[in-house]
């Protein structure tokens, strides 16, 4: 006899399949689709999103949920079943508040906004983009209006990416982080570090091969992954057997391709590591973007830009550069990779200044949402904050307010998760260093399996079972905190600058 729980799982499997379809349509749009396909793709995405939404919020989903909740009563609070029901109920209660037509309009606006952003950025013309951004903001406000229990409007969208997060809490963390970063950046920005070893010419075919070698060490396999080129790197997962990552190679700046690949592979490993038992359920993906980002940024920065991995990487870089790196020591490359150098583009920012790019966006999008900042004034607000936080002038909107895809795709409330991910990575890393005393030697030898297994066992396999706060409590025994990340930064920068920074 079918239990309510098994019927609920069947319904949720169907929802997961529609999510799978929508994700493939999105991946294809970014990586494969010819440009003239965008209008019809937008229609298809909107329809799939609407049906996914409609079937999820159907009244019988609610009845199955109630019945399944009764069935699992008395089971341990951390069992898959109890968590499946509670996570689904939370999502259901949120989704029920959003009309299907609004969900479809948001999906469609995301697709058309993306195309408009590509064009506006190419033309360096913010005004071209304003109507699309305005439309996205209007839809986000309409979305927020579907809810009534929140302290700040921004909390509603933040919760979609970082469940349980609040703007008060994030602001407190970011204020603490800003208090550390701004003086650190001011102290170090004028120290000379030679960046030229990052800018020697590397053939792109060789870069692709090296990136392939590195991600294979991380856990990439040809039979369960794809690795493609895009303008804006991203990771997608359509199940444990189909994880896809992209990067962007530049022939005179190898960190773009290699660290993009490591970053996205970090995301991919998380998706791939969720236990089989949670597949095709709402628990089959990580619980929060901050936790997701903790993985990508740990692999990119803690591992990839660390001193130990540089031992492994440097001979390969030297071979790849065909003589062009001959004048530079391994130490020079390590220092260049970690130098504090304020730049225009978030995506290219060093590990230290990166946080300020995020804090800037977090502040601006809150002000936009709350109506404290008009869209027409956004470029100037952007540019003035770049001056205040990083001390640099923004020469064009293409390299300023138009640089990121997120707002174009309707993703407001998403940016802070990047910096929160850094904080979590710092906390996990201190725990990993305790648990894996050989970690440094392993990384220096290119042996990354031990780290991947630790992450799989402690973080990945749980998928969306625990909130990021719960997971952190289980793994490191404390809530999200700024200290470990700042300690990591200061230790690394002390090494780079040969200065005491603690």
């Amino acid at each position: 006899m079918a239990t309510a729980l098994s019927e609920l799982k069947e319904r949720l499997g169907e929802i997961a399949d529609l999510r799978h379809a929508g994700s493939v349509l999105n991946w294809d749009q970014s990586v494969m689709m010819p440009p003239k396909g965008s209008a019809q793709r937008g229609e298809a995405l909107a329809t799939v999103a609407r049906i996914q939404h409609e079937r999820f919020i159907a009244a019988d989903t609610g009845r199955l949920l109630e019945a399944a909740a009764a069935e699992v009563e008395g089971q341990p609070d951390d069992s898959d079943e109890v968590r499946l029901v509670s996570k689904t109920r939370r999502d259901y209660d949120k989704a029920r508040r959003v009309p299907s037509a609004l969900a479809a309009a948001m999906a469609k606006a995301s697709s058309t906004g993306y195309e408009a952003w590509v064009a506006a950025r190419a033309a360096d013309d913010f005004a071209m983009f304003v109507p699309y951004l305005q439309h996205n903001l209007d839809l986000v406000r309409e979305y927020i209006d579907c809810f009534d229990e929140y302290d700040a409007p921004y909390d509603v969208v933040l919760d979609d990416y970082e469940p349980g997060g609040t703007s008060v809490h994030v602001r407190a963390l970011f204020d603490e982080l800003k208090g550390e970063l701004v003086p650190l950046i001011a102290q170090l920005r004028d120290h000379e570090v030679d960046a030229s070893p990052l800018h020697v010419a590397y053939p792109i075919a060789g870069q692709r091969q090296l990136s392939g070698e590195v991600i294979r060490l991380m856990g990439y396999t040809d039979d369960g992954w794809r690795f493609d080129d895009t303008v804006h790197p991203f990771a997608s997962s359509f199940g444990r057997g189909d994880v896809r990552i992209t990067t962007r190679f530049e022939d005179d700046y190898f960190p773009m391709g290699l660290y993009g690949a490591m970053h996205e592979c970090g995301h991919g490993l998380y998706e791939q590591g969720v236990s089989e038992a949670l597949q095709r359920t709402p628990l089959s993906h990580p619980p929060s973007l901050a936790l997701h980002e903790s993985q990508s940024r740990m692999w990119e920065n803690f591992v990839g830009r660390g001193r130990q991995f540089n031992h492994f990487l440097n001979p390969r870089l030297v071979a790849l550069a065909g003589g062009a790196l001959d004048g530079f020591s391994a130490d020079a490359v390590f220092k260049a990779l970690n130098a504090v150098k304020p730049t225009l583009i978030r995506f290219e920012a060093d590990e230290t200044t990166y946080g300020m790019h995020i804090i800037l966006r977090f502040e601006l999008e809150q002000e936009l949402l709350e109506g404290k900042l008009a869209l027409a004034d956004l470029p100037e607000a952007w540019n003035s904050r770049m001056r205040d936080y990083l001390g640099i002038e923004v020469p064009s909107d293409a390299d300023g307010v138009l640089q990121d895809v997120h707002w174009a795709a309707g993703l407001i409330g998403y940016f802070p998760t990047y910096a929160l991910g850094n904080l979590i990575a710092g906390q996990l890393w201190e725990k990993i260093e305790q648990d894996l005393p050989d970690l440094d030697a392993q990384i220096a030898a290119g042996e990354l399996q031990g780290l991947r297994e630790w992450l799989g066992e402690n973080v990945h396999r749980h998928g969306g079972k625990f909130s990021s706060a719960e997971l952190l409590q289980r793994v490191v025994g404390e809530p999200i905190a700024v200290g470990p990340f700042v300690r990591h930064l200061k230790a690394k920068l002390s090494d780079v600058y040969e200065l005491p920074l603690a």
Copy 2:
């Protein structure tokens, strides 16, 4: 106020969007997906197919259809609106008979059957494949059992690919065709034609470039098409702005890549040429696979392997072969491209023997369906008919009964449309030659726009508005017939063999 017709169109647009999603999932599975993704992809495909089916056969679709039928009453019989309603009603009445669970099971079996076929073919092991083929046959029989008005069970599945087609009619055409082909093949098969100009070494990068040049002359554009490599070439369309074709290159047999590309581009041009007004409706695709195939095979064989196009192509082939073709005249290449040479693989067959490959499959799949042939006996039945029709021995099942993907994907009743397409191409070609007196000179100069425009105006733009029988009547003034194709073949072969064959 929304009319029933506009509400119906909205519903049908949603169905078209789900078809779009399913097609992208299928394309991705064939061209991009890593192998371990297949199980979860199969689930997603099944869910999308089931929802598409459920929403189409919903009772309110029927009510909208009735109301829309009343609204369009009195409009001209060949108006878009009248045809939309009548075509939809025909599809609806068929689809209502098929339970959603069966449709989903067929979609899933198609996906798992494909993977099993890939493995069985690689292992040259028909027995490995039997359970999957048996399952597909069982599902097809279950599907046929949903219908009650047919003369032969096979007619039910044939109608899915060739609406209005019957096995009695196809058998009559094929018997006439067989009566022409078997003696023609027997007469010519032992005449010596040097095939070696087809087998000189061509670098694959150069082949890809030449194929790209040719399909661009046909109408391919970078902003609305994709061109990829697969084991088994195919065409997909996700709307007028996103048409995708694939081919397979072999470094010692250039016709595989080039003619595969021309063939699939012929399909793609048909999809792309359907008028904008019919997009996102059931009329947005060609009405029958035979008509579809008439286009691909016309471009591949009537144009691509014709004497005129050879004038255009030969200098390019010579350049591509880097000296290897130096001993061969253009005439020698033309003759080799059209020589009658029985071979094992349908996909590599010349234009003359091709029909016998199809007739063989048409006969076998009817016998399987009707229970006259046991699956265990299929390889021997295949091999013995290859001996009778083409005079060749089949050395392995991989090159025999396992060579095609169709049955693996559950496509029974599909094969005859290939040969019917040749017949239709013959009829259209005689009409085109009357309407375009400069055609030969244009083709010899690589000017293919006139032909594409004729096809666009007379065939493509109508999409699925008219059945293939109606369209033929409108364009050539007669039903499908064997004569024109046989005249075309004999004229070309008289040229190749320098023999009178009329």
